[in-house]
Subunit: 389 residues, 2 copies
């Protein structure tokens, strides 16, 4: 099995780690990013080889840009290969060329499936016997499903007031559900205790490097769907930020490979948060280098209720580097946007629906320019939130 | 726009109709099937041209085997291109080579999206101003969504005890919902009245020919995913039977085109029904040529609650022609199967889950043989049935 994965490197201090054993955070507390031998990959693999693959490979069509795992060892439920839909009606009469990447068409109804597919695959490859993670919502269902598919026990901790359907779903998949009176941060503390005492494999956001690799395929797909070019702008509903960082990592790798034009700037990434939990927006507006814990986090967009994202500093760096921005949308506006999207045939998650008012704000502020190509990244299906309609 | 569609022909009496105006049933009451110039298509289109297309075309990757519609006039939400998953664990220790076609990964969470995509596209092309249909469940949500995407008003009639989420969904998409105290057959009578009095476009099952063309792409995809061959057997949860007939039509066309081996027999098609509504099974077991209305239809598998399918006779003919069979599964067994599937990471609809006990019955009866390649066709996601968990 050829693999181009060479090692892991800390995003904060550049310290490196071998990739052939379980790794979590850097000793400095920084996030570990998978590193590939991109020059060799560029020499050996033409992008046409990728494009010739059928849709049934899902996100593994990008196998060379993922950890090397033989096909029969990949844990898959058919994730990835989601559509990029033209939604000209929201582009302000053609002022912007607007696309919707619809991640609701994934197993378990959300983009979390991408992270779980690669994350569970690698946990099993690296010898994990139990996978544990905290979640604000969708990720729990996804990891429970992929754990079940892989035959690996999963322990999920989530706030007691996380969506009921997600709680049911986690149990339906046979995972152990632990409810906490609190937020995802409290659930995370409970998981950390079990990791220390019982040797669970810690699959918390960014505490292993492969969930991010799965999410990275979002950016690879968008580029391929746009004819191996990058959009000018991507609006992304930002909770823990794995997708945001995955997009950034994807486009950097594609540019290094020469699979997208090397002189094209990275897409300006826009972090859209809920007004009831907007630590990235607050830090961005204050010009800060790191996020501060958001007290009293509350929003109908369960996936955005991440008051203290581990990767806050890295997200802020990426927003700066890509000339992006950050803005928050209140719940009432999100709710109205869900209804407006549905009237166009698109029942988006509240996280995804929040992008529509964010888009309008950016157009009104002349932050978007006529003719720009803009992608809205809908992270999940409205079906996952039946209580909101 | 090149089209290979030549005309429509009655499945019962062979009478033909032009395809460039709205058509519903034959004057004899038979179902109209779209007919293509397959010899010309075979000369002009190599199947490699199909395979070279990206997944983003969805079911329109088979455009030459669908009505000719320019890309910008196609009504799409990203339907089709669903995965075919290996599920060896259910194949009785490798006795059969088992696959699951997971149609839950479609817009609105079910395979109904395929029929609605092509059906709504053609309704609009043919000048419809209002689309009306009765439904037992999922189809209502799908047609409401595609109507909204197309900007066409939709009227959906369904039993008052259809799943609550589907009722909400239809309204969320802006369609008019009419509830009847009764079954899909009663909803159908109400729609027929409006078609006569108000000129609605009748999109009832088989009362226009293009829903079937959309469903047909199921068979085209399965063949392509199996390397342009046909499986030996397909288990299909049978309500109205559009998918069953679509599979049969797809494989016949592929064989005529030479895109699958001309000497390979058509897959044996298996109609799986709920014990509480099994008109096809009862007729099959009695050796009858037509189905009789099933009194008191009741099952948790809403999509199977079709007591008097319009295409009953055609389905029975297809089961005979393909050396297929029919069998019924009771609700308690369906419910247990849903839980077993979920423990394998697959939250299937009750209709899809019914296939697992059906498979076991067929293996126990030696109806399936070692080494045969079998496809289970899961028609929808468990997410559409949150009340069942």
């Amino acid at each position: 099995m050829i693999t181009y994965l060479t090692h892991l490197a800390c995003a904060a201090c550049d310290q490196t780690y071998p990739a052939d054993e379980p790794q979590h955070l850097c000793t400095c507390g920084g996030i570990l990013l998978a590193q590939y031998d991109l020059p060799r990959l560029a020499r050996e693999v033409p992008r046409e080889r990728i494009s010739a693959r059928g849709w049934n490979d899902g996100l593994w069509r990008y196998a060379e840009l993922l950890p090397g795992v033989p096909p029969e060892r990949r844990v898959t439920l058919g994730e990835g290969a989601t559509p990029l839909l033209a939604v000209p009606q929201w582009g302000m009469e053609g002022q912007v060329e607007l696309w919707l990447k619809d991640e609701g068409l994934n197993p378990t109804g959300s983009f979390k499936a991408r992270g779980a597919a690669v994350g569970v695959t690698m946990a099993r490859q690296l010898g994990a016997t139990h996978i544990a993670l905290p979640t604000a919502g969708n990720a729990g269902a996804a990891w429970a499903a992929y754990g079940a598919r892989a035959g690996l026990p999963v322990i999920v901790a989530m706030p007691r007031d996380a969506p009921a359907i997600t709680q049911h779903e986690v149990q339906l998949y046979g995972a152990r559900l632990h409810l906490v009176d609190g937020l995802i941060s409290d659930a995370g503390a409970w998981v950390a205790q079990g990791v220390r005492s019982d040797g669970w494999y810690d699959a918390s956001t960014f505490k292993e490097p492969y969930r991010l690799e799965g999410k990275k395929t979002l950016g690879l797909e968008i580029a391929e769907q746009l004819g191996w070019t990058m959009p000018d702008v991507i609006l992304y509903p930002t909770g823990g930020g794995v997708g945001l960082i995955g997009l950034w990592k994807a486009f950097q790798e594609l540019r290094t490979l020469g699979w997208v034009p090397a002189d094209q700037p990275l897409p300006r990434l826009v972090a859209v948060q809920a007004a009831g939990c907007a630590p990235v927006v607050r830090a961005w507006e204050a010009g800060a280098d790191a996020t501060a814990f958001w007290e009293g986090a509350a929003t109908i967009a369960a996936g955005l209720r991440v008051p203290g994202p581990l990767a806050g500093a890295l997200m802020l760096r990426i927003l700066r580097e890509t000339n992006g921005t950050a803005l928050a949308i209140d719940d009432a506006t999100i709710h109205t946007a869900m209804q407006e999207c549905a009237r166009a045939g698109l029942w988006l998650s509240p996280e995804g629906a929040a992008l529509l008012p964010a888009l309008r704000t950016l157009i009104a502020q002349d932050w978007l320019h006529p003719g720009e190509r803009v992608v809205l990244l809908n992270t999940g299906s409205g079906l996952v939130y039946p209580d909101l309609v």
